[in-house]
Amino acid sequence: MLEQLARLGRVGITFLKHLGRANLLLFNILSGVGEVLRRPRLLIAQIYSVGVLSVLIISVSGTFVGMVLGLQGYYILSQFGAEQTLGVMVSASLVRELGPVVAALLFAGRAGSALTAEIGLMKATEQLSGLEMMAVNPIRRVLTPRFFAGFISMPLLAALFGALGVLGGYFVGVGLLGVDDGAYWSQMQSKIDLNKDIYNGVIKSLVFGVVCSWIALFQGYDAVPTSEGVSRSTTRTVVHSSLAVLGLDFVLTALMFGE
């Protein structure tokens, strides 16, 4: 019993130590914002690497998710004779939930894991130590631009995901299943609210961008500098980011849409 209690205590202390280190890292990353403003090319290069290179997977996924929503939505709504509201259903699902959440999960899987592996390998091959010895702060020089690249890219990727999803739903609903073209767009236009739907979706994706980038960079920076250590950290990035996104989505949804 005592041993189990001690084990629980050790787990708690380890967790708090991790959290402390992660918060300290975030503080150091944010304090390097001046470096990013002074050298915007660093940020642009990372936006390309983190954001632009994720466009393909986001586009394909967004289109297919929208197509599936169109198909499923049509079969359900047609049972109640409400298939003309398909546009609202597809767009509300994408803008409020699926856009920010699925885009964040895909971002964690593609860009987050790549960030962790890159930083972890830079640590393992002493590149970060090398920068320190060249009197260059590796957090500000390497981590800060990557963090802000994730922060900026995430809402744009979520918007792209949502837009292509709406088009995917249109293709299936209007193109294949015969929903009225005008009804699809006009219902969407009248029911989707700028503040309640669009802005809240953007806020969600900004929060997810911060969390996914923070987790990915922390896991890379804190990785045990061996091939196994980097591999474990990369896995942890995907798992922790996914859980954080899903958990935070519930909290944010409750705050935004709760009475």
Partner: protein, 278 residues
């Protein structure tokens, strides 16, 4: 009189240095002086904390006790700005080279200059070509780090370490894993650069012959203490049993060949007993 004292003051002065990892003492109150303009070697078997010592000198690790003064400044009492200012005068050659893998040889060597100076591009180019020429790799400037051999990577890292004309360079196992030609080149380069650029060099290594060829002073460390120090001749002819074993590579001695274990006969018999009981 005061001028003479100034000149004789060691570039790096380590006093009472204690550093622990968990309960294990890596260094237990060691004193080391690194003289200006000399090549000083820190030697000892793997796992004795030689690389840790370089990280302590570079301010990347903090000691549990003791002080390290570099050019008269207590490195662990400096704030970040002062520490980075001092590091601009220190070069370090990592065991792996630590080249940035996403930029070319030229850009790797140019990196410290671009970070810390506002020199025009034409001047950076000339300076870099001279530095790369010094390490024999001017023709390899457009290659990526992944296209270099281990020896070439270390020479590029050496060019990068000296590009800001530092007062000292620290070498972490520079000869490990090198073929005889690369090793010969590195041995000569380190000595030549030290003398030509009036540097002070610290070499951490367990390659006895190569290091003894170019060192002015050798410290032999083991079990957290300095076992012996002196000129290469003195170390190579040492009568201390430990130093003799290390320098001449005897399999057994004060450092045992066998990892501590139970008696062999007992171990074998206990295996037979286990089999019969099954």
């Amino acid at each position: 009189m005061s001028d003479t004292t100034q000149i004789e003051e060691p570039l790096v002065k380590i006093r009472g240095l204690t550093f622990r990892r968990g309960s294990r003492a890596i260094f237990d109150g060691i004193d080391i002086d690194i003289q200006r303009g000399k090549v000083t070697a820190i030697m000892g078997p793997s796992g004795t904390g030689k690389t840790t010592l370089l990280k302590l000198i570079g301010g990347q690790l903090r000691p549990d006790a003791g002080t390290i003064h570099v050019d008269g400044q207590d490195i662990h009492a400096l704030n970040t700005r002062e520490l980075y200012k001092l590091r601009m005068r220190m070069g370090m050659l990592f065991q792996s080279g630590a080249l940035l893998t996403d930029i070319s040889v030229f850009e790797n060597v140019a990196y410290p200059i671009r970070e810390h100076t506002d020199l025009p591009e034409s001047m950076i180019r000339k300076l870099l070509l001279l530095k790369l020429e010094a390490v024999g790799l001017r023709g390899a400037r457009d290659l990526m780090p992944s296209e270099l051999s281990g020896g070439m990577a270390r020479r590029v890292a050496l060019a990068r370490a000296m590009v800001l004309d530092p007062m000292m360079i620290m070498y972490d196992e520079p000869f490990t894993g090198q073929d005889p030609i690369s090793m010969g080149v590195l041995v000569k380069l380190i000595r030549k650069l030290n003398d030509a650029s009036r540097l002070s060099s610290i070499i951490v290594s367990h390659d006895v012959q190569e290091t003894a060829q170019i060192a002015d002073q050798i410290y032999v460390i083991s079990n957290g203490r300095v076992i012996e120090s002196g000129s290469p001749e003195r170390i190579m002819n040492s009568e201390l049993e430990w130093t003799d074993q290390f320098v001449h590579g005897h399999a057994d001695g004060p450092v045992p060949f066998h990892y501590p274990a139970a008696d062999l006969d007992e171990d074998l018999l206990s295996g037979s007993r286990m089999e019969s009981s099954c």
